[in-house]
Assembly symmetry: C2
Homo-oligomer: 480 residues x 2
Amino acid sequence: MGKEKKFVRDITPMDQDFAQWYTDIVKKAELTDYSSVRGCMIIRPYGYAMWERIQKDLDEKFKATGHENVYMPLFIPESLLNKEKEHIEGFAPEVAWVTHGGDEELTEKLCVRPTSETLFCEHYAKIVQSYKDLPKLYNQWCSVVRWEKTTRPFLRTTEFLWQEGHTIHATEEEARKETRQMLDIYADHVENMLAIPVIKGKKTESEKFAGGVDTYTIESLMHDGKALQTGTSHYLGTNFAKGFGMQYSDREGKLQYVHQTSWGVTTRMLGAIIMVHGDDSGLVVPPRIAPIQVVIVPIAQHKEGVLEKANELKELVSKVSRVKLDDSDKMPGWKFNEYEMKGVPIRLEVGPKDIEKNQVVLVRRDTREKTIVPMDQLETAIPKLLDDIHNSMYERAKTRMEEKTSIAKNMDEFKDAVDNKTGFVKAMWCGDEECESKIKEVTGASSRCIPFEEGNVSDEDTCVCCGKKAKHLVYWGKAY
Amino acid sequence: MGKEKKFVRDITPMDQDFAQWYTDIVKKAELTDYSSVRGCMIIRPYGYAMWERIQKDLDEKFKATGHENVYMPLFIPESLLNKEKEHIEGFAPEVAWVTHGGDEELTEKLCVRPTSETLFCEHYAKIVQSYKDLPKLYNQWCSVVRWEKTTRPFLRTTEFLWQEGHTIHATEEEARKETRQMLDIYADHVENMLAIPVIKGKKTESEKFAGGVDTYTIESLMHDGKALQTGTSHYLGTNFAKGFGMQYSDREGKLQYVHQTSWGVTTRMLGAIIMVHGDDSGLVVPPRIAPIQVVIVPIAQHKEGVLEKANELKELVSKVSRVKLDDSDKMPGWKFNEYEMKGVPIRLEVGPKDIEKNQVVLVRRDTREKTIVPMDQLETAIPKLLDDIHNSMYERAKTRMEEKTSIAKNMDEFKDAVDNKTGFVKAMWCGDEECESKIKEVTGASSRCIPFEEGNVSDEDTCVCCGKKAKHLVYWGKAY
């Protein structure tokens, strides 16, 4: 235990300073590193391997629902960005501008894409003529840039990785169905791959996407009680269609504007994984996206037969999981700590005594529970244990979210909930933006979403702020 | 045949204007499109799907040889780019500069990465201390920017997609082995996935990478007799290690510089596919990277049972290949032309008469050969035919390359070969850069590589330019 204590001392305890705990984990689990480029992060192999697993799962889901990948230019000419008024107002303050190429000063400056709506619109306007060309269901994986003054790895950086889906449809109904479908795909991914429970809902007017009609969101709760938006899906209506002339002739030969959606998730999701599952010993990686699911640590590996058996076990276990054998000359205790820090779901220990008994010790990262398993049962025991770990990680996060969700009937209850219980506050709202901003001012909590479920408002319900008749139940919370 | 002629008229014949033929194919096969961003291309779904297959195959090969993916920032501060003298001299004239972020003017301008050597170096210098930390075998998939005045889709664009591998090693021997290994992986990929034969060799001093020691290359020959470099792998020695302080302590505790490599391939490979395999009817896609390997075209699809059978066949064929059923209401002849233009390797025709006889018609895109195949043999016939197509595409390209490769003993023969035979010219060279540039000036052909194979130089061999004793056999050619 002495070693573990020493190790734990290396990272700031969560209760002491949550922000520092986060930074320590990101750094010590080797997820990211800083470079001399202010505000940008280097995503290191261990962090990037998680992102690749997220990409793979989502990309398969996108393709299974008929989406195709494309690549749009990194740069957007100023005049193109300016075509949709609200859009440019939303993004202009935070874009990076290229003004010189080679030795020349450019005649028109180019912004580094903060999002690619305008490029997709320009392209769609060109390639779509008839209802037969619809829908177009495109997606792109890339990086985008938003100039940020204060940054934190994964949560807020000048450059980040994401995917952006942009689709156009003949009818509003179809486009709205797509918007919801993509949100459901995100929710499914976050819950079933990342073991993070979500609240699905709609953003209020003031929190929605610049230039869109409706923004749907999935919101999750972090360990410190703050909310994080892990994915959004926008119904854009015909706003961009009008600005960019995206029209098609319908079955009767009449020109119509297309109905549009866009939707995205980013490397923020890696931040959510840390802040939902991590503990004072480090990261806890959800098994289904873990780059290493099982690490084999040989005990007394200098003794005859140990490394040989460890290699045999690696062969065996690799049939059912992503496995790493650490046969370096570090002490087992040191290895234990390292893979705890990295959040590897299962540690498999094997030493001379285990070999005698034809067994191994399996240690779960999430609960630290130990089980002794006969070697010949590993092929079934490992996948089962990985599923168990996923399920208990999800359940623990869900229980915590529920425990940290309060109901507030008036502003005193609201303030008390935000200050003392942290987490989500469920409270009724009249729909007036004035009340929304007052709540934010007084409590620090912003509206996270109007939930799709449990959204019933009765005649007696009144706004938590002004006391007038309520229109919506809203999830509120301090947020990243 | 009337229809085919009409269709062919839509693209400029190759012999008439090769550049226009290329542009027509890129556009009409829907590989790329232009946008309002000068010099940048939109990669459309059909083109991007090919790039994804290239990525998948290479990424698997990189990972199988121990490489890990990372992500480095898009921007490089001017001072960091300046750290390696030859490197900055090589790239400075062609970079895009970000000078403003949001409303602020930046205190130090940032270039949009033309390549990420400097960022990798800075990171490696930080994370490597001991010989135990070596080697580091990193790769990244991203886009890079080089300011180009004249551009052509895939071949030369201001922004393009690529992968860049950057590795560091304890010894020169190990680094040189890595450099060769990666070139071999590229050659394997280009020959066995893209069906394009390559010449492997070393670049001359004047053609090598800015800041490196040795550049290895694979060179292929296009339909018009011009060469295209499809991949390069560089041994960088300790040049960057010295500039960036990349040192490690060896087993004796002595500080040593690391030995470095870098290697990359780009979306240029898609240009090579077009120019090696395409014909006057359009693209011919190598089967192993074809997004659609088999297209099913129903004949008389309004007749009872035809579409039903076509759907059944789609199910069956999808077990062994990537298949698309086109049941749109276009005429079969129109569909034939469309998928010829898109270069789909196999067309499967099925109509009422075929159904009666329990057979289908298979038409190869490359040779237009037709075969009648019983339906119950499709599961074996299709994979075999795809392999046959791959092999004949490779063989045809190889024969063409050999036919277009001349040997020149003197400058007259050299000029004659370049002007009248086109293709590669094999000629002896003294090793003097003056002769190299004179050859280029007089013939228009640059040195492509000093081949690894057939590189024997005898005492009697003399330089094709100056007549002095020869040092190397060189492949020369006009190039993209």
